[in-house]
Assembly symmetry: C2
Homo-oligomer: 233 residues x 2
DNA sequence: GTCAAGAAGATTGTCGACAATCGACAGAAC
DNA sequence: GTTCTGTCGATTGTCGACAATCTTCTTGAC
């Protein structure tokens, strides 16, 4: 009963289970970069042909993307890139507030120290990317910041819940391009949240995060409403 | 451009997309009825042979069950019925509190009237099932009650979030058999929640629901801890 | 007796093919 | 001109088979 658990992992275990995951990544990128637009159809055979593999892994990847909310499926009709509506975004942000606020409260109740390093790094990253004028990467840093809060909450289920809505959130952000006219704004709006966490004030942290996400919610929905009006006009 | 929207639907739309869904149902029942125990392996070929169909739909059903949390998959090793730990249950209930409390608050903020009928019916159902001594069906009525709150919250995403943790919650309840010694207790513990909703008091409703789920959380984890101790002793 | 190496069996990952279903178009009936 | 019906092409749903991988059992050395 020796049970050698890890006999010296010298080489990183290369993703031999990676085909499906790879397809997921490819489709995700295509959607988030706008090469696939909301409402577009994803034909299994077409994607399979382009990638030079069979329909099975493509199909499985599509199912995974469905559960992550990036695509929707209709029986006997296939997969489509999810249509984004103002109402959906609003609902999404309401759920985000509910989950992330609970997470940050729990984070501060525990030991926030390990999280602070990563959180600080993300904010600095947003500043750098603002100077580099790279709004897309900035959005990714934003998502990473919020994910870190869930990750260090001590309740791993907050992370899975966050992940299940993260992609759709990111999609809505990518669609509108940029949130604020001043690229530095994004980093600034995260500072109060960071400060409250660093001060180990659970109530203040919750309030700051709720305000932060709530503001983003208003800004995003407003911009999106305008976009829709122009689009359908 | 006449666009007749619904020219008298005489026939109910029959589920033509049923095979995978049917398999999902079968496996779900097997797990929730205890015929498949946590840790058990789900072999695609075995299930496919038993059901008299190919592996494809079985595989797809397993993937769906994975995202609903009832099974977990390991690359190149297949699917297993999810192991339930005390920590997982505790995390689960914490997330439930966070989601359902937000849902009930929003429900009361809107018009709670349409929800009340269904909620009342579920509580009555729990009483009937207590007399009939049917704890399994009672658990289903319990889940239905909580799902109704999310359903009538006005934010459909609360429902999807709830559904993604509902099966696992139900599994933990099924595993411990019955929550309270007195079967009537389950119905009783829902009354304060119902009353607060009926009174249209959002804060009271949130508090009542938080107390209700919080109590269940303590009871379930306690029972489960005892079960584990006996099991491993 | 313990442990490592190898063979055999079982199971998943992937593939190409067929059947069922859907959407669009053309033609007939009114 | 409008509406219904039948056909056609395209796509999904399902299947059986093969290759890659994991598990288990056996074998052999120490």
């Amino acid at each position: 009963m020796s049970m050698n658990p890890a006999p010296d992992p010298i080489f990183a275990r290369l993703d031999r289970a990676g085909l499906v995951q790879h397809v997921v990544r490819l489709i995700t990128d295509a959607i988030l970069q706008g090469r696939l637009k909301p409402g577009d159809r994803l034909t299994e055979s077409g994607i399979a042909r382009e990638l030079g593999l069979s329909r099975a892994p493509v199909r499985e990847a599509a199912r995974l993307l469905e559960n992550r909310g990036l695509v929707v499926s209709q029986p006997n009709r296939g997969f489509f890139v999810r249509e984004v509506t103002v109402e959906a975004i609003d609902s999404l942000y309401e759920l985000r507030i509910c989950i992330e606020c609970a997470a940050v409260e729990r984070l501060v109740a525990g030991d926030p120290a390990p999280a602070l390093i990563g959180l600080r790094a993300r904010i600095d990253e947003m500043r750098d990317l603002a100077e580099a004028d790279d709004p897309l990467s900035q959005i990714e840093a934003d998502m990473a910041f919020h994910r870190l809060i869930c990750l260090h909450s001590g309740n791993e289920r907050f992370v899975t819940a966050f992940d299940q809505i993260a992609d759709e959130t990111q999609l809505s952000l990518m669609l509108i391009g940029r949130l604020y006219d001043d690229p530095m704004r994004m980093a600034e709006t995260h500072e109060p949240v960071f400060d409250a966490i660093a001060a180990r004030d659970a109530q203040a942290a919750r309030a700051a995060l709720e305000y932060h996400i709530g503001t983003a919610r208003r800004v995003v929905t407003d911009i999106f409403r305008k976009l829709k009006e122009d689009g359908s006009a």
